[in-house]
Symmetry: D2
Subunit: 184 residues, 4 copies
């Protein structure tokens, strides 16, 4: 079995809830980036040993939170030794708007994974976008590069629609499955 | 008064409907890219004389339609003479999914405008993303770089929510107003 | 052994030269998109049977050529049947400028691969960017998401620097190797 | 005369040098983001009063530095009051590679400006990309959305080619000139 690690920063609990759902579904390990954008030394060892790394962060003002960015820059240390080369990567982001420039965050995460020489796993689920579609459907937001999550600006993490939650669970399992195939 | 021109390609009528609503609201002139991705010679003269150019195209497979792309490449002729330098630009795109990689289309349009040395006008409307928000609200999709329009995959142009229509009308007026200010 | 297919559009021969170098190095099969943006029926069958697909196109006015875009839209047919789901993907683009918005083309290609539910292989080579670096070095342009190729605007395909050629050869082999690992 | 403000974060002095050259050429005011990603209260007042804001940051691991990102998030305060609506914006980024994913940083900056409802000024200079082109030419990197600056990874800010410096100076003047036209 491959080892999947979700490394995330959560501002108000939405990103954390999604990370936990993904971990529960896939058996992934969780690493939380702290409010100063830092990890423990042991966290870096876990990341170095991982087969797959999933990035998670809220989208604030059009890109991932600064704490996530600070972590990204600290990853120049494993980059220098090419420790993450050929690892499997995926990513997700949360914001209050249906669109809300979340795509720009995914492009940023996908670029980070590419700088590390990674292999990026797309969402791999058809969009639910017909007339009867609701926010309770799998991939109702219609993402493709990675996982998009939305909850209203005046609500907590429990307001994330069940469809987004289930999309998150499936994406985590998909990444784990690709990592398994690459490992074998 | 500045001259605003909307140059668009429409596959199934959605982009055309939005273009017409924007023209009606702002007094902009319409130029349709034909099914082969071509314009009339007189259309190029109208574009050369415009103060502002608004790009419109559906998002198909993650970027603007090939007919719009063919038009973009034909614009290398005015680019060569720098005829569009310092013009005002904006853009919009339509797809069936709430997200549907529409942002990638806007990035592509904004890049085209930048290659011409243009001045890009953002949407300039706050997103409607609270718990009571509906698709009837202004900027419910939460765009920022340009205008995002969505209608279900199994429905025609008349299924575009009124909120998206009104957002389109206001964006056209906003672009005209910035063009007026730059012209004076 | 996995089957790698390079599907490309070439305007002036640069993209074709790179495609041929990549095929020679990796044993990949070549499919040329014709000047009308079309493929043969048998080409679509080859793509459906491929383990890995590499996209290639010049960057014109900030995004891949319209012929490549037309091919992208025709790929909605295999998309409808999810024939390319879980395939391995990579991409490259050519333009006359060192930057020249090539990144926007790669984002577009990576988004297309993601719409198909693909697995994207990054370039995976460190940039050569120290004081003594030259255009004869591996990854001198400093790409990461995919392969960047540059040749002057007033020169033919034989002016592509040897460093870019060698980067292309290695990227093709890298994609084939990842496809092999996923297949086994 | 319009008031142009350059707000930048510099890690090793390259971004600062460019910011200073731009200020000298255009009469812009400089605001440095500190190593913790913070500004003085008076800096926010200067930004609120500005006609044009130019963003500057190095590209680290594929996006602007975390200090710049922290500043971006702090700008949600003026965003909340829409204090930057209709301001003129531009941006620049520095990295060691010719490409180095600088475009992703510009997309991020342009998105930030758009979230504020801004008007984005493209570089507006033709690329120098013929066979005799050198790094001493105006826009030799071939940027369009904003300003791209490159200096080798093992060299200081004084190794930035004169062509990039002159491109920076002209871009600052261009932004000031557009701001003047909009103000009048």
């Amino acid at each position: 079995m491959s080892q999947v690690v979700i490394v995330y920063h959560s501002g108000y609990g939405h990103t954390q809830r999604i990370a936990e759902c993904m971990a529960e579904a896939s058996g992934a390990q969780l690493i939380a980036i702290n409010p100063e954008g830092q990890l423990l030394d042991t966290d870096w060892e876990i990341l170095a040993a991982a087969d797959a790394i999933i990035f998670g962060a809220p989208t604030y003002m059009g890109s991932p939170s600064w704490q996530f960015k600070r972590f990204s820059e600290a990853s120049s240390k494993p980059w220098f030794k090419q420790l993450w080369l050929d690892k499997v990567f995926g990513g997700f982001t949360v914001s209050a708007s249906l669109n809300g420039d979340k795509q720009v965050s995914l492009i940023s995460m996908q670029t980070l994974a590419s700088q590390h020489g990674g292999i990026w796993v797309s969402l791999g689920m058809l969009p639910s976008n017909h007339s009867a579609a609701t926010r309770q459907d799998i991939n109702n937001l219609g993402g493709s590069v990675g996982l998009l999550i939305q909850a209203p600006s005046d609500a907590g993490a429990d307001a994330i629609p069940q469809g987004d939650i289930e999309t998150a669970r499936r994406y985590a399992c998909r990444i784990a499955s690709i990592a398994d195939r690459l490992r074998s």
